[in-house]
Amino acid sequence: MDAMLVFDVALALALVGLAWAVLAAEDLFAAVVLFIVFGLMTALAWVRLAAPDVALAEAAIGAGVTGALLLATLRRIGGAESAETTPRPVLIGVGALAAAVTSGLGAAFLAAPAQGPGLEAAIAANLAASGVEHPVTAVLLNYRAYDTLMEVVVLFAAVVAVWSVAQAPEPATPLLGPLHAGFARVALPAAVVVGAYLLWAGATMPGGAFQGGAVLGAVAILALLARDYVPAPAHRAWARGAFLAGTAVFALVAAGVGFGPRMAFEYPPALAKPLILLIEAVVTLSIAATLAALFFGREPEPLGVEVEARK
């Protein structure tokens, strides 16, 4: 098995090297591209550490959607760079601090028991009652469903914050030409099928709401880029509904089951699987809409509205 160790060491070094390259790149665009590569490499690392779900999420959200957001912002701020650099003594001081913190963490990490105690036994024991076969989905949507609800709330909060911040309409993106339109007509429906499949597979294999949502989000972003769909002010009500659908269904189901003898978030055993699938489906749609809205970056104001400058 030592061949894989060589690969692991190589990948680890590549990761550290890439991390330094991302932050040391002199040009912002290069930094973002290197960051996307770093994201993909991390996904590879997750695969090596036997965490397929996380690899999918990292690739789809960590590298894909985040990369798209970064590139979009880069275009909007036009690569304006503040030239000031931090003075050398501060660099050395903070460097020493960071090194100290990291080495402290390293010591604590090495002192920790390798492959120490965990909850895998408890998960396996309760898997039958959780309504899904795949352990990660069971943890996400049943054991720690409260965490996942709050995670979707964070996403919802992000879109509320972004809509409250951004206002002024901005210059339109350049057209991507006919070839892309043809490709889009073929690829996008296929991607939608892939997204739906990912959602469905989540119950038994690595996959699930977030990964599926991310793929569908990517589809929406491509549609926005190709301006197949231009968000109009009239669509705002629909968009608001889409953003909060996931959280609303999740919260109402969680509270709903809470009435009567059972605890909140405690699905009745017979209904566990359908309920989880219902929640996952709506959450996937919600995530896709939210990620696309985050990419679009602002509430689609009626174009004519002249937003007076804040005093």
Binding site: D8, A12, V16, V22, L28, G118, I123, L155, F210
Partner: protein, 97 residues
């Protein structure tokens, strides 16, 4: 020298770089990148905690936590990028306004 040890240390190194640069970089976009690297470094720790020698299946809880962490991180970055964009727009308005 099992994989979890290698990647654990690599993750901490990535965190160190990210933490160092997050405190020293001035450009807001680069600081966002640095913070995302710190977050990835931190999630290495969790995934390594979940790693079990191959025949045994890995512990699913940290995986769920890291997925949540990724989604939280992307939403925080989205807000940061929206702020950066809005600041750039206002500064451009102010400079030529």
């Amino acid at each position: 020298m099992s994989p979890d040890l290698i990647y654990g240390l690599a993750g901490l190194a990535v965190f160190g770089i990210g933490f160092f640069r997050a405190l020293t970089l001035a450009a807001p976009l680069r600081r966002v990148l640095a913070l995302k690297l710190c977050a990835v470094g931190a999630s290495f720790l969790l995934i390594v905690a979940a790693y079990r020698q191959p025949p045994v299946t890995a512990d699913a809880v940290p995986h769920a936590l890291v997925i949540t962490g990724i989604v939280v991180m992307v939403s925080a970055m989205a807000v940061a990028l929206a702020l950066i964009h809005r600041i750039a727009v206002l500064e451009r308005e102010r400079s030529d306004g």
